[in-house]
Symmetry: none
Subunit: 226 residues, 2 copies
């Protein structure tokens, strides 16, 4: 997957929270660094992170102010999720002006946390300008979200593109319906697994005669191959 070990920086003045964040997100495969204060965070090189988790209420420099510095002084567009106990309109407004990508009100559940993190990171995928070419004259252009079949671009919708890209980039590997749902739809969204079948039918149709390159292994799932 696109997951090249995404890096997350969590800043909170409560040791407990930092540990919870670190433990759980590490378990999900992220590389997590923590800071006990905004000051400590500002002494680090913040350019290498893919996401910031900032507590709003912290010592002398609040999460809002820290985000402001990150955005304006450091000119980073890295996504930010604020952790906050408060839930007032004002907080929200301030947060949005600083470009908050999401809020997580404490207390939050682990599931809630990782779902949002995953969603945000997926949305803001780094999009390397890579071009991966694979079996059977299929080319995936991840930068432009295009898949070429023998040089001709397929007219795929978003979900269709993501599934086919997943398949082509992992040719031969079997994906169960759940794998696909989790990677393409994400864990927050709840849809029937038959949705996968229908979407794949649509992709196959758009692929024309090449459609049979998406194989199904009964009882296990789908995969791409000759």
């Amino acid at each position: 997957m696109t997951n090249d070990r995404r890096r997350i920086l969590a800043v909170d003045d409560e040791e407990d929270i930092l540990e919870i964040l670190s433990f759980n997100l590490s378990g999900e495969g992220y590389k997590v660094d923590t800071c006990i204060s905004a000051e400590e965070a500002l002494r680090k090189d913040l350019s290498g992170y893919d996401l910031f988790l900032l507590d709003v209420m912290m010592g002398p420099i609040s999460g809002f102010r820290l985000a402001e510095k990150i955005r304006k002084e450091l000119a980073l567009t890295t996504p930010v999720i604020f952790l906050t106990a408060r839930d007032s309109e004002n907080d929200r407004i301030t947060g949005f002006n600083l470009g908050a990508d999401d809020y997580l009100a404490k207390p939050f559940s682990i599931r809630e946390l990782s779902a949002r993190v995953k969603a945000i990171l997926r949305r803001s995928s780094p999009e390397q300008v890579t071009m991966e070419t694979v079996a059977g004259d299929f080319t995936v252009d991840t930068a432009n979200k295009l898949i070429y079949s023998e040089g001709v671009p397929l007219e795929l919708t978003r979900k269709e593109y993501e599934i086919l890209a997943l398949f082509i980039c992992n040719a031969g590997k079997i994906f169960s319906r759940n794998d696909i749902l989790s990677k393409v739809w994400g864990d927050e969204v709840i849809v029937t697994d038959r949705t996968v079948d229908v979407t794949i039918a649509r992709i196959r149709k758009k692929m024309g005669e090449k459609g049979n390159m998406i194989k199904n292994k009964s009882g296990y799932g789908y995969y791409f191959g000759d």
Copy 2:
């Protein structure tokens, strides 16, 4: 369905709640067991479940304490969803440390329930592992559910694959029909033991000349070897 019949254990001291949970989740295709107390739950073999739904407020042993035992004493990483009427900071914190995967505040809607259950089970499923190579030019690829004979993949169905994988990974070991039924079909499914013979005949045929590598020791069972 791809659902390998996920098993859920619901523990709550209210009979009504248990019935609601059981009825609705069964209807969604899950196998649901229920316990009216933590003590009762602890008397069961808890290792076979895919998810625990635990009421927080119960008799002498609370849901939190039960989860703690499950995690620490039984060393299970099975996901847990707490059912709770309370929603205070303390509850949440306690839950975190025990690795709660989610909370569901009573009263909850059926839709909410099944959405969360589904999401949790989906995310906790992936277990793509290794490649095991074994005797007589046979290779088992457990990730893609493929078995290669001299480098050429066999076209096996689910049951066929599981039986042959079992044999190859335990070459030389004799499996009675009951062993095979238990491991491949599971203990709840009831099928004739002649079904095993038929399935093995099918595997042998697909293996071609190598088919005779599945041996039978009359009166005892089948095994794999030269």
